[in-house]
Symmetry: C2
């Protein structure tokens, strides 16, 4: 059985939890409190020298890191249900939508960046909120445009089955709630999120459903 080293609120962790759920793969949940340095211990750093979550531990003791790399590995080793379309152009679109979130919003807004803003520039809660909201807004504006202008958008980001792009979208919307960012300006993103939120694989992977969840 897989062992997932993760944190309930981490959006990269949320993506991997949903991928495991969609593919029907059971896993042992190990939660870490990032703010308490629980991913900076020597034992944790031996799993991932970056001290980041998530880490997927395999039966043979191997450790896989980086959420998108983990999900691509799951896709290659457990192809059904698929998280990527079968045609290369569709796969390119889904990966690009996913990376808009995973490479342009999340890295700039995660906990360690907000803490660095505080340390280096004295950013208080309000300044951190403005920073966080800025990066969400400019990328969600572009994502809304990509989704609303494409005939390839269906019930979900790409067609009528959830893909890697939906994992990232869903996790990011949960992340946005930390700063109470409303979705009103992005009707397609909002519609897709609401529909994803009815699927058990997504609900069960969401932050509040985890054993270490706190309000």
């Amino acid at each position: 059985m897989f062992r997932l080293h993760n944190f309930f609120r981490s959006s990269a962790s949320t993506r991997v939890r949903i991928a495991l759920n969609i593919k029907g793969l059971d896993y042992d949940y190990r939660g870490y409190v990032l703010r308490d340095g629980e991913t900076r211990t020597p034992a944790y750093l031996s799993r991932n020298p970056q001290g980041l979550v998530p880490v997927l531990e395999l039966d043979d003791g191997r450790h896989l890191t980086q959420s998108l790399a983990i999900i691509e590995w799951l896709e290659e080793t457990h192809p059904e249900p698929a998280l990527l379309p079968s045609d290369p152009l569709g796969r390119a679109r889904v990966r690009a939508l996913a990376q808009m979130i995973a490479c342009e919003i999340h890295p700039v807004n995660n906990l360690r960046v907000l803490l660095r803003l505080k340390d280096q520039f004295g950013a208080d809660d309000e300044a951190q909120r403005a920073w966080f909201t800025h990066w969400v807004s400019i990328t969600f504006d572009a994502l809304e445009s990509c989704l609303s202008n494409s005939p390839e958008t269906g019930r979900y980001c790409h067609g009528d089955a959830p893909t890697l792009a939906d994992l990232c979208l869903y996790a990011q919307v949960w992340n946005n709630r930390r700063f109470l960012i409303p979705l009103d300006a992005w009707p397609t993103i909002s519609r897709v999120f609401e529909r994803l939120d009815t699927l058990p694989a997504f609900r069960d992977g969401a932050p509040p459903s985890q054993p270490d969840a706190q309000p």
Copy 2:
């Protein structure tokens, strides 16, 4: 023939140029000056609503965005020479190494983030340098550990042929030069870079080799 909308100094652009070179694919180079807003025009935004480089334009007028998604598409449609290993665990390792750079260093350090630090926090050149150096250092420390502790590291990041991870490493080291960050603390990264820098596909994709290059 492909048309590549890009910028000589952009490290995401550098990755795609090298991938095209390795696969022997010719392309029409279109350069844009980011600081002058040349990727914020209506014509450019119709290619990529994010206003980012690179964009790979196909013969049929389709536009592909996000460097890692573009490279995965190139890999699927032009498999040789391969930029990913053939085994899923090897692919997971290469993608994770690539994403350490593409998801943890580059997004936090690109031009628009540095400009935002200036606008929101009044960060001067020295503060921007400290910020940039911080994110390079903590991730290169972890990358050095991953590379130096693994028997899978060879002449390059993974074995003896360049992979997606090397594209990201090479482009990031060029990016570091903007803030004159020496490589002395990371001997394996340094060794891999020096060897990559002897390969024509990499040299020809490097920033100084581009038609719009400036000192």
